[in-house]
Symmetry: C2
Amino acid sequence: MNKNLIVGQSGGPTAVINSSLYGVVKAAIDSPEIDKVFGMENGIEGFLLGNVLDFQEALEPNELELLKSTPGAYLGSCRFMLPEDLDDPVYPKLFEKLNELNIGYFMYNGGNDSMDTVSKVSRYAEKVGSDIKVMGIPKTIDNDLVLTDHTPGFASAAKYVANTVREIVTDASVYETPAVTIIEIMGRHAGWLTAASALARRFDGDCPDLIYLPEVDFDCGGFVSKVKNLLDKKNTVVVCISEGINDAQGKFICEYDSATGVDNFGHKMLAGAGKYLENLLRSELGCKARSVEFNVSQRCSSALLSKTDRDEAVMAGEFGVKSALAGETGYMVAFDRVSDYEIECSLQDVNEICNKEKKVPSTMISADGTDVTDEFINYCKPLILGNVEVACGEDGLPKFAYRK
Amino acid sequence: MNKNLIVGQSGGPTAVINSSLYGVVKAAIDSPEIDKVFGMENGIEGFLLGNVLDFQEALEPNELELLKSTPGAYLGSCRFMLPEDLDDPVYPKLFEKLNELNIGYFMYNGGNDSMDTVSKVSRYAEKVGSDIKVMGIPKTIDNDLVLTDHTPGFASAAKYVANTVREIVTDASVYETPAVTIIEIMGRHAGWLTAASALARRFDGDCPDLIYLPEVDFDCGGFVSKVKNLLDKKNTVVVCISEGINDAQGKFICEYDSATGVDNFGHKMLAGAGKYLENLLRSELGCKARSVEFNVSQRCSSALLSKTDRDEAVMAGEFGVKSALAGETGYMVAFDRVSDYEIECSLQDVNEICNKEKKVPSTMISADGTDVTDEFINYCKPLILGNVEVACGEDGLPKFAYRK
């Protein structure tokens, strides 16, 4: 008897998480072995509350195609961890709900924490002898999942970073007044996205001048003196930092001002590492300084999608469905770089992935810790290639799919 | 005898100020009455220091075309006001330099302060009987110049705002947790750009939920209670504010925290109106809140150029050159909306424009001051139409023209 498929999204959205959703839904609809295609609304948390949609009913005729270039998470997301103890009553409850819907294939699209869910659901299925196939589809702009060359979502965010840094450099270069621009980029523990700012350079010596990742101990004194040396030579200095830069004791730079920056209500005004360093430069060097925080646009810009990323995200979704249909379970779809540049999908044991974190290796960071090496450039460059033409409405703005 | 033309850029850059530069340079090169086409490096300030380039020498073969979609200010900019007193010795010095280069046509591309320069240079020319024709080409994302339907640069910034607000709404809608996102948009005194956030809406009741312009007195208590009412009805609340929102006494909201927000060095941490209101909501309502500052990307994004804006910016530059060749002087090129939607260029007395500021009229603001009316929507909608395909390099990123 044919089975149904259910798919959920979890964790922070990316610009292409819905491209993977498209890949899953399209492959499932096209598979004669699968009857119905369901979506969990707001991930496993919403599913446990009974929030399920039927894709064939929910999507208007052309909306499936729109999904491919819709940022955010169409199904809604959650940040919900299943209990460690597989004897917890939530598991039989979950499987009862899955069985009610005659689910044979459980696809979960997310990052590190979501792979933890895939691990637990697949282990519980094995424990109780359920034949539901459980598969993880990766996504994260942080690019910090192990056992895969990179993750869907990273490349579009990297393209946003490189493109926008280049534009800001163009903007920052118009005045003769010496000035420093600090750009704060997402990445609490891994600096992959900040490293991508190096791709903005058009020639030797072009901005950004300094790149700081969380992988390297940050030293405020060294930073100030490097900026001072640069200002002796050039008027426009641009520095890219990860939000998570931290000192040798592991203290985040964004926490340095927490004791003093307090608003009228006595609440901490945590202004971010960029704001802190902007202030530091003004007070130590007396120079003009400003900071720019890329914020959520780096993960939800549809105008700067990487076609490579978008196509790979779709491919990951499709591969997940095909693998589940072939009887595989407990895996995450991973990317293997087989040549420069070609990607093939493989399956990796999800238990070896969840709760681990891939940081930028030291070979991709320059000796003095303020730049990346050619090894990183060669790694990252092919990922951002190709532009996506996003469907445009009569209002001149992008058309996105959304739940009604 | 043929004369030469010189063009300068001044004030903050926009995404299409170089499109106008393209229009000027192209029209000048194509005019048999004009020999050489010069550029002032860093505006009138750089010109007085002798910093001049010859476009035919400076631009590589295909770079003129690249100018059309290059953000920033190719020539460099300045913030320099000529003295009020036309008897000041800077004027004969300036005209000596212009005569040395055999300049017959002086084009200046900028906003309010730049039109002040056009006014003074043209009045001095008249005073001394110089036949140099002086023409202002408008630009400003603020859209605050009088006697013109709108200004080049506004529409692309408005498109960035509408597009990016729509994306952020998509991103903000993924969780079930009630949360408020505050988006801070440029505009110290005029709210045109913030008003454009209304174009992000896809259906009645879509975000943004509240739009606050500097034209309306801002009341923190009223703001908090409106947000509270919204959170009773929906989980995702998005508020767009101008950076320049101010209270009934004219005090900027971003200055509210100046007494208390102090960093380790005792320096003021002016965190912006968005950050202030984010904190206010957390303390008053105990809700999740975050703020996003669009910062410089709203004026330098090449990915979200409005084709309408780009084409009009080119047209303004061309029209300025043709008008100067026809003997006109002391004018700014203006846009007249002759139908819905068609624009014709006209000339407006620059003395009637400089040092004035066009604010959003009350008929474009809703009665309770927290939204725009259909009059604004109808005004703004056609301006953002059309996408521009920006030249892309082998690195997958936009190719920009820049001075070597």
